[in-house]
């Protein structure tokens, strides 16, 4: 068995509760590492690309990593990988934290679920083995209630991942939640819901050995020390929410369903303003020395405030009432809904109402009450919520009137909070993203916020930079290490190789890791090709290609320009 791994995955058929350990060769582990990379490889082997993602036979993979459980800061993460019920393409979502450590302590490098349980169930894996228990009492329970309830039943030292009501109702962008964090994008919660599995509870005692523990400790200390420096100050001191005013200043804050890049009331949602009337605490994932999670008080509890939630439920829906936006974010967490897709789909519906194409007169831009009502309807699939639970692309298909032209999605995945016309390297990243419009699998916005390109007039030179960020993300998501750490590395590939050498003992170097990243990107593409991908999917909705941003005529992106960027991307990828 290679150092850093268990050399096997656990395959469970939840229809019967039967399970088997399947060996993983050292060659496969070295080629795909873990996390996203290993997850995609296992899905390809399972033939998942051609399956209905909500069918019982469709596999859902929880993939751990060689670094998890080590003292390396930010390494307690896991990937949830499946075919997306929202996009019909590959979906890999990452979450933190104790669940990842517990999963690996169960003696496997991944858990693959297939089948469908006869009743709503909890899957329990511990020293006694694998078993299914009834979760009927948690039907309709929030993620937090389920987690708390199962820990009370099984023991506080179990780590639990669960779905909320949205997952039970197969909302196509339902999340899987653990300890308040979510494997958020692409609907993995619906895949688990389709298996009739409400939660997974893990406890284990297995330890993977490190090849060179002394060296690993030295590297870990150095990394932790650097994680307290300026490179992570943004995340520690203000959190990602600080993007809001910055993006607004650059005309890059998506507003009212991408009809504008500036929100006149953005200041009311800024962390500076939020903290004038609310107390704020900071939390972090297990094994993290950064602590980017800023929790603001709300009623008798608190809510984790992140830029993506603020933008999607705030400016994108035209809502400036901070209380309503925080409540909406909290409600999404409870129901187990991806805040980006929720906000994107609601904002799209608001524009359809404005144009008279949807007869829901209450659903208007700027209304916090409408936002909250829509979220509850989506979580329960009632009324208009049943349509909106399908995501903006399917909703546009049903509404007609060419509304697909402004449905804010790529490949069906709603666009995150980076206005593509103002950040055109990111526009390319969104267009070509294997899982759709995504800011976690492509960090192309880094290029736009640099002196490498002119963000509103990018040229073909931007393509290689966009590819670099995508490759780096693939590596970070497979090793796994948090992207908020990326600023501390002088030479990421060299340091990543050093980490892997100390954990696995492999003679891996930076060049090998560059190849590994490309292999993982290619595996995702192979999955999508099998699932029916065509080049026409690598684009943006018509709105972005025919309408400049108001108040910023320079923020204009033509179809011709995007097509040429995409073609160059495909050429440089060798596709």
């Amino acid at each position: 068995m290679p150092f850093g791994y268990h050399g096997r995955y656990l395959r469970i058929d939840v229809s019967t509760g039967t399970s088997e350990y399947v060996p993983l060769s050292e060659a496969i582990l070295r080629q795909y590492l873990g996390g996203s990379g290993l997850g995609v490889k296992l899905l390809l082997d399972e033939g998942a690309a051609v399956m209905d993602p909500l069918a019982p036979e469709a596999p859902l993979v929880f993939a751990f990593s060689p670094l998890v459980g080590s003292p390396l800061t930010t390494s307690a993460k896991f990937a949830v990988v499946s075919k997306s019920p929202l996009t019909g393409r590959i979906n890999d979502s990452l979450a933190s934290s104790g669940f990842a450590i517990a999963g690996k302590a169960c003696g496997c490098d991944a858990i693959v679920l297939v089948g469908r349980a006869a009743e709503l169930s909890a899957l329990v894996i511990d020293e006694a083995g694998v078993r299914m228990e009834s979760a009927a009492e948690y039907r309709g329970a929030t993620c937090r209630e389920t987690e708390t309830g199962l820990k009370a039943r099984l023991g506080a030292n179990y780590r639990v991942a669960s779905i909320g009501p949205a997952g039970e109702h197969l909302v196509r962008y339902a999340t899987i939640s653990h300890d308040g964090r979510h494997a958020g994008r692409g609907g993995s919660g619906a895949v688990l819901g389709a298996k009739n599995v409400k939660a997974i509870a893990l406890r284990g005692t297995h330890r993977a050995e490190w090849a060179n523990p002394g060296e690993l400790t030295t590297i870990s200390k150095s990394l932790s020390k650097r994680s307290f420096g300026p490179a992570t100050a943004k995340y520690r001191e203000l959190g990602t929410a600080t993007n809001l005013l910055t993006f607004n200043r650059f005309g890059a804050l998506p507003t009212r369903n991408f009809q504008s890049g500036t929100f006149e009331e953005a200041a009311s949602l800024s962390p500076e303003q939020l903290s004038t009337t609310r107390s704020r605490t900071r939390e972090s994932c297990v094994s993290c020395t950064i602590g980017c999670e800023h929790i603001y008080s709300l009623g008798s509890g608190g809510v984790r405030v992140e830029y993506e939630s603020l933008f999607a439920l705030g400016s994108l829906c035209g809502v400036s009432d901070a209380d309503a936006v925080l409540r909406a974010s909290q409600r999404c967490d409870e129901l187990g809904l991806d805040t980006i897709s929720t906000g994107g789909t609601i904002a799209f519906a608001m524009e359809c109402v404005e144009r008279g194409w949807l007869d829901e007169p209450w659903l208007v831009f700027g209304s916090g009450d409408a936002l909250l009502r829509a979220i509850d309807l989506i979580g329960s699939r009632q009324g208009i919520g049943n349509l909106l639970a399908e995501g903006s692309r399917r909703a546009a298909d049903a509404i007609g009137h060419h509304s697909i032209d402004f449905a804010p999605q790529v490949k069906g995945l709603e666009i995150p909070g980076y206005e593509p016309r103002a950040l055109q390297t990111m526009a390319l990243g969104f267009a070509v993203g294997a899982r759709g419009a995504d800011h976690n699998r492509s960090g192309a916005y880094e290029v736009d916020f640099s002196d490498k390109v002119d963000r509103r007039h990018v040229t073909l030179d931007a393509v290689r930079h966009a590819i670099d960020t995508e490759d780096k993300a693939a590596l970070m998501d497979s090793m796994i290490i948090c992207k908020f750490l990326r600023g501390v590395f002088e030479d990421f590939h060299a340091e990543a190789a050093e980490m892997l050498r100390s954990v696995t003992g492999w003679d891996v170097n930076a060049d090998e890791l560059r190849e590994t990243a490309k292999r993982i990107i290619s595996a995702k593409r192979q999955f999508n090709l099998l699932a029916g991908w065509t080049p026409a999917e690598d684009t943006l909705p018509e709105r972005f290609l025919s309408t400049p941003l108001p108040n910023d005529p320079d923020a204009s992106l033509s179809r011709e320009r995007l097509d040429s960027l995409v073609a160059e991307y495909h050429r440089q990828r060798g596709w």
Binding site: A233, E446, R456
Partner: protein, 84 residues
């Protein structure tokens, strides 16, 4: 010229805007490091730490200390990492 602070630089500076006289980006940063000591951690002589970046008039991001500035320019200082 006019300097705007965003995000962490704004928090450290304790102000959102400031008028400064300078002919180049390097001069401007040197002045800021002196006038606003909490920003000093992010400025090495005439350059920003790599985690921070300057932008000219909302258009071009700039890093060369020799970049010329004129009276009506607006220089924005912000975190380079736009991850969300």
């Amino acid at each position: 010229m006019h300097v705007e602070f965003l995000g962490v630089p704004r928090q450290r500076a304790g102000i959102s805007e400031l008028e400064v006289q300078a002919n180049t980006l390097g001069q401007l940063l040197g002045t800021l490091a002196t006038q606003i000591p909490p920003l000093g951690e992010f400025i090495a002589v005439d350059r920003l730490h790599s985690s921070f970046i300057a932008n000219l008039n909302g258009d071009q991001f700039i890093s060369d200390p020799a970049t010329p500035l004129v009276k009506d320019d607006r220089v924005l200082i912000l975190s380079a990492d736009a991850g969300g």
